[in-house]
Amino acid sequence: MFLKAALLSVCLLPVVTSCSEEELLEPKPLTSLADVEAFSNPDRVLAQVNGLYSSVKNGQFLGGRYFIYVDVRGEEFLNVSNNGVTALQTWNHTNNSGSNEPTNLWNQAYLAINRINLFLEGLDANPTVVDAALASQYKGEARFLRALTYLSMVQLYAQPYTKDNGASLGLPLRLKGEVGTGNNDLVRSSVADVYKQVLEDLNFAEQNLAATNTSAALNTTRAHKNTAIALKTRAYLAMGRYADVVTEAAKIVSATAPYRAATGVAHQLQASVSTVFTNYTTTESILSMPMSSNDLPGTQNGLASYYMPIVGIGDYSLNPNGIIGNAAFTATDARRTSFVKNDFTGDAGRIRLTKFPTGPQHTDYVPVIRYAEVLLNLAEAKARLAAGVDADALALLNAVRGRSAPTAVYATMASKTALVDAILLERRIELLGEGFRSNDLLRQNLPLPAKANIQAVTVAASVYIWPIPQGELNVNKLAVPNP
């Protein structure tokens, strides 16, 4: 009996084994999705679209640090914490190719680029999962995000377009999805080529994005036609193509005040600037990065972490010699009374930017494009294009300025130059802490001003722009460092 049983079990062995072979050798991960299943239904495709937004929203990039870096390279902020991991080297212009800040941002931005490229290819490879119209819209969103990423990067890692019409070295333009090994070598395209790609993506996006999304929240956190147009005004302004700024802006800015977008999402300024930083999804916020208590920017990435004492670390205070010391920024300006404070306990009277006040969980939405910027982009373009003082430009400037400082609007302007200067000053006041200052200096080919004990950086200095990270240079044999 036992003999038979034993022999039977020996004989059964291969059977038992083969039954369980699949179960044993091909387990599926339970908390990650295999790549082949990422396009298996419309919900997953949508989740991937949101995954693209969350990729650019990473705290190393547009979830926080990008804006910090662009601002602290300028003169508006002073470093308080002397902490090597919170933008110190960016603030004091000591980044080299091995530094963490340029490296981490580069890595995260290109990770987003690759996810976007893989998504675009995946949509093409799985044409039936979502209907064609929705697929086009998703592609529009993906290409919008690719444009946003490349535009943000090219302003940090490359010479300004306006220096030499984009002849300088730009970025490696990765436009295909990357999964396996190899394909490391890719030359840096010229700055002009990068802008060309940005515009191509934005034009595609404008064509394919929805006119409006279904809710105020989605209109702020997901791209639509006007989002692409708004970003084009920024891109053209950076290129110094002012006529194109005017052409694009005209699509979303009415000819006369009150300025608003006639089609698509009805963007307009809110009555009070402080509303925009408490109600994150008004029509003024064209694109913002949403935060929630379960989706935070991460330690030492949140804007409030940098600017706010007590609820944040407060690494940076406002420079008394920066824009807050400028007479144009009047004492009663709502942007000063709402966002500039110096009475925090134990903070030695430092002047703080309180636009992003929330902590210790930094759940403030991060503004990426605001309607006020579009108005100032348009104002500047018009002012620069006109032979004399452009009345429209002045009106646009006053629309932004008058909202917060009604008694300080400019009745007249002495000259074209005075108007342009006033608009540039207004950008510093209106967009303080929103990631514009050093990019604005660069597109004007101006030095980065001195601050505290940090000397000014001339346009010829190697640290005028960020270095290409060593990790890229080590492996991408065709990439060359910035001079």
């Binding site: 036992f2 003999l3 049983a5 034993a6 079990s9 020996v10 062995l13 084994t17 369980s20 179960e23 044993l24 050798l25 091909e26 387990p27 991960p29 339970l30 908390t31 990650s32 999705l33 295999a34 790549d35 299943e37 990422a38 989740a47 991937q48 949101n50 995954g51 693209l52 937004y53 969350s54 990729s55 490296t103 890595n107 290109y110 990770l111 987003a112 680029i113 690759n114 996810r115 990765r174 990357e178 999964v179 396996g180 090994t181 394909n183 490391n184 070598d185 890719l186 956190t221 949403p290 929630s292 379960n294 989706d295 990270p469 990790g471 890229e472 080590n474 492996v475 991408n476 990439a479």
Partner: protein, 1042 residues
Amino acid sequence: MKKLLPSLWVWFALLCLPALAQDRTVTGKITSSDDGSPLPGVSVQIKGTTRGANSNSDGTYRLGNVPENARLVFSFIGFASQEIETGNRSTINVTLQVDATSLSEVVVVGYGTQSKKTITGAVSSVNGETIANKPVQSFDQALQGRAAGVNIITPNGVLNNAPVIRVRGVSSINGSSSPLIVIDGLPINSNDNVSAGGFTVNNPLGDINPSDIESLEILKDASATAIYGSRAAAGVILITTKKGKEGRVQVTYDGWVGVTKPFKLFKILDAQQYMDYKNLAARNAGLPDQFFPTLNADGSVVNTDWYDVIYRTGTAHNHNLGVNGGTKDTKYAFSVGYTDQEGMLKQNSFNRMTGRMNISHQLNKAIRLGANIALANSKNQAPNTGTTGAFSTGGLGRLPLVLAPNLAPRNPDGSYNINRAGNNMGLGKNLVGAGGYYNPLPDLELSRFTSENNHVLGNIFADFTLFKGLTFRTSYGMDNTTVEDIDFRNSVHGEGGTAGGQAFNIFTNIKQWNWQNYLTYDLQVGKNNFSVVGGNEVQKYTINRWGGARQGLSDPFFTSYQGNFTSNQPPSGNFQSQNGLISYFARLDYNFDQKYLLTFNFRRDGYSAYAAGRKYGNFPGGSIGWRVSEEDFWKNSLGKVVNEFKIRASLGRVGNAGISDFGSLSLFNSGLYGTVPTFFFAQAGNPSLRWESSTSTDIGIAFGLFGDRITGELTYYKKDVTDLVLPEPQAPSRGIPNNFILTNIGSMANTGIELALTSSNITKGKFNWTTSFNISTLKNEVTALANNNADILAQTGGLESSNIVRVNESIGSIYVIRTDGVNPANGRRIFINANNDRVQYDHSAPAASRWTYVDKDGNAPAISGTDRVVVGAAIPKWFGGLDNTFKYGNLELGVFLQFSGGNVIYNGTKAGLRDQRPWNNDIGVLNHWKQAGDVTDVPRPVLNDNISNGSANPISENVEKGDFLRGRNIMLAYTIKNDLLRKANLASIRVYAQVQNAFIITNYTGSDPEISTNRNSNTAPGVDRNSVPQARTFTAGLSLNF
């Protein structure tokens, strides 16, 4: 009916016998040749019959109806059998000879046993007795120095910190270099990552009661390990637990109590020395004095010995009760164990309860059933010791070294001396503090970090003897562990201080089942002996881990996660994974006349982590041997002296899974965009990944001299590890997650010689002296790396990089900036940069002119990481153990020495001890440079100088030789066996006292040359950075045999 026949025949024979011869009753007493003690349970049988008896507890036996001129056979396990002709005697007393060779005759190997005489693979055996009753938490800690080729390092003095075990060197870079552990045939999960979160270390091997272990075998070469295939690249440790023995029930009790203390603590500055020295440093920096006395209530100056706040004399006790017995058919061994050990660090403890039941039963002639089942509950408790983060500002290894001695842990009013806003130590009268360091007292008193295992480990089996020689075994085993990690951080100060208190509870459920089915066939044809094993094994491992996080304790009254908090945080520690293994294996042992030996092993493993089409790998291993001593020419010549001489050689290949469970797959992870769900590309898998491969060659001899009074083995080995899985860097602009893809690209080699000797030196009367000795050499060399052999820099605590993996160097070699002492002219540290220029540093100079050339004028570029060079191997090049046992009558003295060396250690702790920030320093700094011409190793102190002594960048000044000789264990024991005890039903009493870590001889100036701050890291060994020192433990114990 068949079965009845023989017994009928016996009855018939018995009935007839009296008529044939004159029968009588034979009685007598059986004693041991060892110590003359009576031997119970000895089988006494009349040769040629089935009749017999067993001796009683006093060693006496009585056998009736013994025919005249019968031959009696006396046999007992561990003793040589004796045959005695009765003649016409009625009283026969017998002394059985202890049979040393019979005990060691059989060696446990994978899926079976082999004869020690004929084995051709490289296997080291360690008797369970040598590791029992040692003041350790896990058996592997007690294996140190016991086996040739096996190097074991205790990383620091925190209880149940998993030792670093390396069998014949480092076998992987990215994967594990720890051996596979197999208990009674069941491969177990020995990964010390069972615990998550918190600061507690938790070695699941600590769940095994060392007292339950009968023997350990370490399989080293590919011939011995190939049968474990893809899990064998780092060697295999086979554990055999104590099984029941036929005969009278034996009950044993073992207990010990002990005390443990730090072995060596640094001498650091007291309050006055600190203030004097640091103020001098401040003045040298152009600053006014910064450090001033704080007074106690009685007007005396605060002078805190921070060691007293952190260390204690820990007490420990340990108890084991074992029951062992059996009949011919049923054998059993039960045991229960309890150990409760306090560490030398406050709040560090280890507590374990175990139960084991080993049973086997012969159901009938053909079927044997059995089970080996162990249950364990073990609880580890440890504060933040720095074990899981060398630079932790709350690490107790570090705090007593940096905190100012002129500050008290408490204010005069009893409150903690803390700065609430900065969450760091209060300043007292000092103007500056050490930085973010915590006052350790609140964490010790209010926080709690534990990791508790419930562990079921066991297998059930059935053996079917199909016909003579052919056995089928099926065995099902499980290794299930649940782990509860509790991490409660108080709201007052320290780790949870800024969050107002935090709690993380994490629960982990690890399950592994394993089913083996195999046939064993033994066949003898003339002088040809065959033994064949073949079968299969399937195994599945799953891990499920989840946890919660809360912060903002509502009231200090609450001390647990379940208390009230103001906010719930995202989950902590969530993790789910699994893997499966399907294997087929076979072994052929053949020998001719026990003279010409051959073994061939083969295993085919399928493992789930690899991509489809690449799941299976084949692992062959073979060995040959020649017992020259069995040849007549040898017997007639050398044989008188060298009674045993075997030459053996082996070759084989085994594997190592260097990847995670889903490492070959391309994966999307999910998260949130604000509040909506996302999927995003998160892992670029490599479908062409395969096993790391380890090809070993091994040549050796085994010998016995003077009738095995001296036995030994000498072996040369070479282990070529290829196809190492390494992250191949990708251009970051490609946007591959983490910028690498795992690829089989690296290789390295380990070579060495092992010598093991045992000797019975003197046996004279009651005096007996035995020695066992082993020594091994190891040379590791990295031969290929990813990205055109690009260096891999390994980090300590995520901050400091003092190890490098570089081609043509030993793995993880120490990589530091060269220094050239202190310039006698000006007291500045001299560094040597990459251009071989001598440059010196003066922290008191303006920032632009701090670095100057020594040998020419002008400012020099600052020293940086690119000036580092390789200064030596971090893993020991030789190591071993020397065990001497002296016996006089019942008195026994054991002295076990362990040694290791040939390596260098990066003594980063010294960099901290001489850091010129407001940290405390060791008294060595008082020998600092004072005036021109002073020759010293300590530069002129300048407050806040963190460069001159190696904090900012590791320097060769802090690299030291790691050679040491340690008195690992010294034991004195006395055994009492006498009639008085016997009347009390006690067979013997043994009392002993021992000291673990008795002494050390070394030139190393750190706390201990046996250290591994980076614990089990393959790439950053030999670093001493703020680790808790080793402990010394005194124990006294008692063993009772009933």
